[in-house]
Amino acid sequence: MNESLHRLGEYVLLMKKAIAIPDRWSMFFKQLIREIYKLGVDSLWIVVIISVFIGTVIAIQISLNINSPLIPKFTIGYTTREIILLEFSSSIMCLILAGKVGSNIASEIGTMRITEQIDAIEIMGVNSANFLIMPKIIGLMLFIPVLVIFSMFTGIIGGIGASYLDTRMTPSSFEYGLQFYFNSFYIWYSIIKSVVYAFIISSIAAYFGYNVKGGALDVGKASTNAVVMSSIMILLADVIMTHLMLT
């Protein structure tokens, strides 16, 4: 308990140091573009692949489970859409990204710590936390809505694909279901959630990386811890935000 309070305090202090006016805006934007590319654009392919496949599987499994003459066929398309829009493309996608992006951030910053690159930045009179961490946080928060929208889009495409494959549904009823009782707030709800997750992933990973002590082994440990901790925090935030926004 004492240990976790201590860590929480360290985390808050680090964020206070990181979130500040940059020493040089031109350098900040240069870093920002780099991070958006590395953390965001490079994650597009994995988001697309996972979303298409899961979208397909969701549609097939729902058709399997509600195969009853009492339930109209379009329910399959409707339910698939709701699952993807509400939960899959934001929370599940971000849990996956916590693994990819979180470990990347923690190991990059951790390596810079143990090879004294962070000391080298500090000694020049540059705020190292601000220089290294803020572009990652802002970059991920800016780009994650793009990933979420891509995921929604490709997930639905996967579902439509399933409606052609699976004889229990028809493409026309599936498409009718997709448009049935559509609430656009759900998209905003997902995007807002994902932006919060982006902050959680990048700031927690940065914290674990920045505070590495020791050698390469400790960098590995830090990146594992970062992924575990940010996953737990994502789930916790999911419950809280869903309660606040949907009930």
């Binding site: 004294e116 000391d119 000694i123 020049m124």
Partner: protein, 254 residues
């Protein structure tokens, strides 16, 4: 001139530095020598403010480091250059970008001028053909030289080197030593070098501080170091064959 007064530092109850006082002179290469684990790196990091000492004072030409305001500290930091034990070049940047980094951060010159200054520094350390390579693509000696170029890019008044020639072959090590010595004289810097390399001691030991288990045992220059009567110092330096030979040769002459 950098002055360290009564510096004490402990980690988790274990005292690593005991009440160390020393003066590091301008325009000279000041050496801190001692066994591995004696506290050289900790002393250096305390002197530049990367670690906070438990007690003691540090003065940079009269400016008191501990308790210095943020603004003042940032100004002072821009007058410091540091060469880290493992070079600490930024992996994600080329050699040229590494050297330009402090300029990009603090200089108001145009890109062309900054690049020119960086190229000048690279030329000074004899590293002109490697500017577009990444740190992972160059040798250890080249990394050291690139790190020196980065450290002098902003024309520092104070230069700190942590084991500048560890992991280098003797010839390259001498080159690096000479380079540090030459730029120290050329730019009238106050240079502090951590080393346990006996070659460096006879080569550039203009002001030597010997530390044993966190205690300052001895201070003097390269001529005095051979003829000292300090037992701990003799123990340390005559562990090296080279020094035995130097001493023998000295005895023959006299």
């Amino acid at each position: 001139m950098i002055e360290v007064k009564n510096l004490t530092k402990s980690f988790e109850g274990r005292t690593v530095l005991h009440n160390i006082s020393a003066v590091f002179e301008t325009g000279k290469t000041n050496l801190i020598i001692g066994r591995s684990g004696s506290g050289k790196t900790v002393l250096l990091k305390n002197s530049i403010g990367l670690i906070q000492p438990d007690s003691g004072e540090i003065f940079y030409d009269g400016r008191k480091l501990i308790g210095m305001g943020k603004k003042e500290l940032n100004i002072l930091r821009r007058e410091m250059g540091m060469l880290f034990q493992g070079s600490a070049l930024f992996d994600s940047m080329t050699v040229l970008e590494n050297v330009m980094f402090p300029l990009d951060m603090f200089s108001n010159d145009s890109y062309k001028e900054r690049e020119k200054r960086a190229m000048f520094c690279l030329e000074r350390v004899n590293l002109l053909d490697a500017e577009h390579l990444y740190p992972s693509e160059i040798s250890g000696g080249m990394m050291k030289r690139a790190a020196i170029a980065r450290a002098i890019a902003l024309k520092p008044r104070y230069l700190f080197c942590d084991e500048p020639n560890s992991g280098l072959d003797p010839k390259t090590a001498l080159l690096i030593d000479d380079l540090i010595h030459d730029i120290t004289v050329e730019y009238k810097m106050t240079t502090i070098i951590n080393t346990h390399d006996m070659n460096s001691v006879i080569n550039i030991g203009e002001n030597i501080i010997f530390i044993k288990e966190g205690i300052k045992e001895w201070q003097g220059d390269k001529h005095q170091v051979i003829n000292s009567n300090n037992e701990a110092l003799n123990d340390f330096i005559f562990a090296s064959d080279l020094f035995k030979k130097v001493k023998k040769a000295g005895n023959h002459k006299s």
